[in-house]
């Protein structure tokens, strides 16, 4: 399994690196805005960069599936002692790791900055937790959208689907806010999207 994960990271290094770089830019920007006393712009700036990051997650998912079909990676791996479920599991784990590695340091940075700027975080700790959890789940849902869209071989559909999928998934936060209900909805969507992908990945002819 570790070998599969390592291989997946090597294959998708560009997209994973781009997501992590974007996350680093977000952290740097957040710290800079705080140092320059422009904290009021932090929320808007974070929201814009977060949207770009979500597109990155979706592209990563789409790339995993698209590259698999284009380069026949599963066909090659299936000749070895590994099942298709394990190949997919390694892929999804890499996606989940990318989402976590990109978003958790940013969340920690924001919490630290809030702790410095508005000390009693305990008064709004629930809000910080809910927004962070919702953002991470939305990021992973965008990745799952990428997994669903990546099956198409039409490039224009792929690009349009990626943009539309990310806009739709992100809009769920605008429509419903950040509370437990949206988290439940996102979890349901993630579970359904992964199940659908697993079914398709394990039943499609090589």
């Amino acid at each position: 399994m570790l070998a599969l994960i390592a291989r997946e990271i090597r294959d998708q290094f560009v997209y994973i690196g781009a997501c992590c770089s974007l996350s680093a830019i977000m952290i740097g920007s957040a710290v800079s805005l705080y140092v320059w006393s422009m904290a009021e712009g932090l929320f808007l700036f974070s929201a814009v960069l977060m949207s770009v990051l979500f597109i990155g997650f979706c592209v990563l998912g789409a790339s995993q599936m698209y590259a698999d079909r284009a380069n026949r990676i599963s066909v090659l791996l299936s000749t070895m002692a590994v099942t298709r479920s394990r190949i997919l599991a390694a892929r999804v784990l890499v996606g989940a790791l990318t989402v976590l590695v990109s978003l958790i340091p940013f969340v920690i940075t924001i919490v630290v900055l809030l702790q410095i700027a508005i000390p009693p975080v305990k008064f709004y700790s629930r809000m910080v937790w809910e927004i962070s959890a919702s953002a991470i789940l939305t990021g992973f849902a965008c990745y799952c959208i990428g997994l669903l869209i990546g099956w198409t071989s039409n490039k224009s559909r792929l690009i349009l689907g990626t943009l539309l999928g990310v806009v739709l998934m992100t809009s769920i936060l605008v429509a419903k806010g950040f509370g437990p209900s949206v988290m439940l909805l996102l979890l349901l969507f993630i579970a359904a999207a992964l199940t659908h992908t697993w079914h398709k990945f394990t039943s499609v002819s090589l």
């Binding site: 508005i118 429509a175 969507f189 359904a192 199940t195 659908h196």
Partner: protein, 559 residues
């Protein structure tokens, strides 16, 4: 895992994904229609004015520009209304410190780091900060303090003797006399931090119709509705009354010093109860002025049970006048209440005198009278008809229990749909309501039937089992468009071949044709009798004779 369970999981997973994505698309399409409806109303009739108010004598004096009360829909900017009721805005309002629904009532981080909040885990109000302690030598020492207030008193530690609040609501913080109401204990409390005392009001009787839900500044989604009171003034040129702006420029400083605003200027604190009535609480005695049965004003509503949950926004302005000319003591002179309907398409402004009687009112014209309104109503109806019929039916049954702005955040149920609006219409009996709602659901049901028919036809064509076909038909009928898309995405991908018996497409993986039941003639793949061979191999081919000609024809036909 067997194939059947494998397929069922796949269908459910696909259904959830499709349902969520389609619901999101329909949500934003509905929102777009609602936003345009709001824009239409706010541009054409977004401001109401009551002038004169009827509250004061002498308002009809030609030398006086009378008092007026105005209400504006897009107070904080154009199109802000629909966005204020979206989930993200509502969430931030409910969580951000000092927000309308926050438990943090006072916060001064840059001055003396004072905090005033309700701690649900303790059931106590907490006041903490830094106090200045004067010393005998004239200097001042800073001391951190923390005080806890419960129904029974104030102390420096959260002891049991202080009692516990169960579900308190409070007014905006007044340093002198801060009033709170506990919905569990059914009493008002006046907390005086400086004196270290908590005063209890009388317990409201169990059978009382008054169930307070807001104290002090009474408003809901105030960013999309603003109400203002403008006092009377002396008119410089009484003959010119044509232009309001010119009037305002010519107006001298107010002579009738009535003032209005959300904050009470008197000891009477407005209290809103769950039925939409506004009472005045004497903050000294903690009893209602005139008793709990007398209301100083009430919220207007369009449908559903009366109360703040039935309107999208409201704002109350209290009007006060000095007790005597030049006095700094004020007395209650009335109040103005503006409300906005669930659909954000109707606004009403009412002015109440000190006895709670409505003395003047204004309302926006019927939405459908506005030019272009019918097109947006029709567009919204079409979008709603694409929604799953089963959710529309559920919206009918949950219509009365939903808060007015829930419809702007709901993906599946539609509390503001035409069907739900009809369900809240109490002017007709339940049979009439249900019948009218069914008529409104007719396009959605018709679409469901049409899509179910297509599924049935396709299922017959590809030879699905009766069980699978019925599941697809019922699922599509109940879930409409998402159900149909789910079927299309999960149906077996089979290339049909022509049946030799009936001529229709049949499945090659079945022994019998699913249309006529004729057996499958598996062609024998027998090589033909003739061969094209190279010149040097004649001898070899002659040694291997082929089969008879008629069988070869049969095989080529089958292929």
């Amino acid at each position: 895992m067997n194939a059947r369970r494998y397929d069922i999981i796949h269908i459910f997973a696909t259904g959830i994904v499709v349902m969520l994505l389609v619901s999101l698309v329909l949500f934003w399409a509905r929102f777009f229609c609602q936003m345009n409806q709001y824009a239409l109303v706010s541009n054409a009739a977004g401001q109401l004015q009551v002038r004169p108010t009827g509250l004061f004598e002498g308002e009809d004096d030609p030398n006086v520009v009378p008092c007026r009360v105005t209400a504006r829909m897009n107070a904080s900017g154009p199109l802000i209304g629909p966005f204020v009721v979206l989930g993200v805005a509502q969430y931030l309002q409910s969580r951000v410190p000092l927000g309308p629904d926050s438990h943090i009532y006072w916060w001064a981080p840059n001055e003396v780091d004072q905090w005033l909040y309700y701690d649900p885990s303790l059931g106590l109000m907490v006041h903490k900060g830094i106090a200045e302690v004067p010393q005998p030598d004239g200097s001042v020492n800073l001391r951190h303090f923390i005080n806890y207030a419960g129904p029974e008193g104030i102390g420096e530690a959260p002891t049991k003797e202080l009692g516990r609040f169960i579900s308190p609501i409070t007014s905006v913080y007044y340093p002198r006399r801060w009033v709170a109401y506990d919905q569990g204990l059914r009493r008002f409390y006046a907390i005086q931090w400086r004196d270290g005392t908590v005063e209890k009001g009388p317990e409201l009787p169990e059978d009382s119709t008054c169930r307070p839900v807001q104290i002090g500044v009474l408003e809901k989604n105030s960013m999309c509705l603003d109400v203002r009171f403008v006092p009377a003034s002396i008119r410089e040129k009484p003959e010119d009354t044509s232009d309001t702006r010119a009037d305002a420029e010519r107006e001298r400083p107010s002579v009738l010093t009535a003032i209005g605003g959300p904050w009470p200027m008197t000891d009477l604190l407005p209290v809103l109860d769950a039925s939409g009535r506004i009472h005045l609480l004497d903050s000294e005695t903690l009893e209602f002025a005139g008793g709990a049965s007398s209301a100083a004003a009430s919220l207007s509503y369009w449908d559903g049970p009366p109360g703040p949950d039935s309107v999208a926004a409201f704002s109350v302005s209290l009007i006060s006048v000095p007790k005597r000319r030049g006095s700094r003591e004020w007395t209650h002179a009335g109040c103005a209440v503006a409300t906005l309907s669930r659909e954000l398409t109707a606004m009403r402004l009412d002015v109440f005198d000190p006895n709670g009687r409505s003395v003047a009112s204004a309302k926006t014209p019927s939405y459908l009278e506005l030019p272009g309104a019918s097109a947006w109503v029709a567009a919204r109806f079409v979008v709603e008809s694409l929604h799953p019929p089963v959710f529309m039916l559920a919206s009918y049954f949950t219509a009365s229990s939903s808060e007015a702005t829930t419809g702007y955040r709901s993906l599946f149920l539609l509390p503001n749909s035409f069907v739900a609006t009809k369900a809240r219409d109490r002017s007709v009996g339940w049979v009439g309501r249900f019948g009218a709602s069914l008529m409104l659901m007719l396009p959605a049901v018709a679409l469901g039937i049409f899509l179910a028919w297509r599924v049935a036809r396709d299922a017959d064509r590809i030879g699905l089992s009766h069980e699978a076909k019925m599941l697809g038909v019922l699922g599509t009928f109940a879930l409409g468009l998402p159900g149909y898309l789910t079927y299309r995405l999960t149906r077996p991908k089979i290339a049909l071949v022509t049946c030799r018996n009936c001529g229709l497409g049949r499945r090659p993986d079945r022994e019998k044709c699913h249309h006529c039941g004729s057996p499958w003639h598996v062609p024998e793949l027998i090589p033909p009798a003739w061969r094209v061979v190279e010149e040097g191999n004649w001898g070899v081919e002659e040694a291997q004779p082929g089969p008879a000609v008629p069988q070869a024809e049969d095989a080529s036909e089958a292929l």
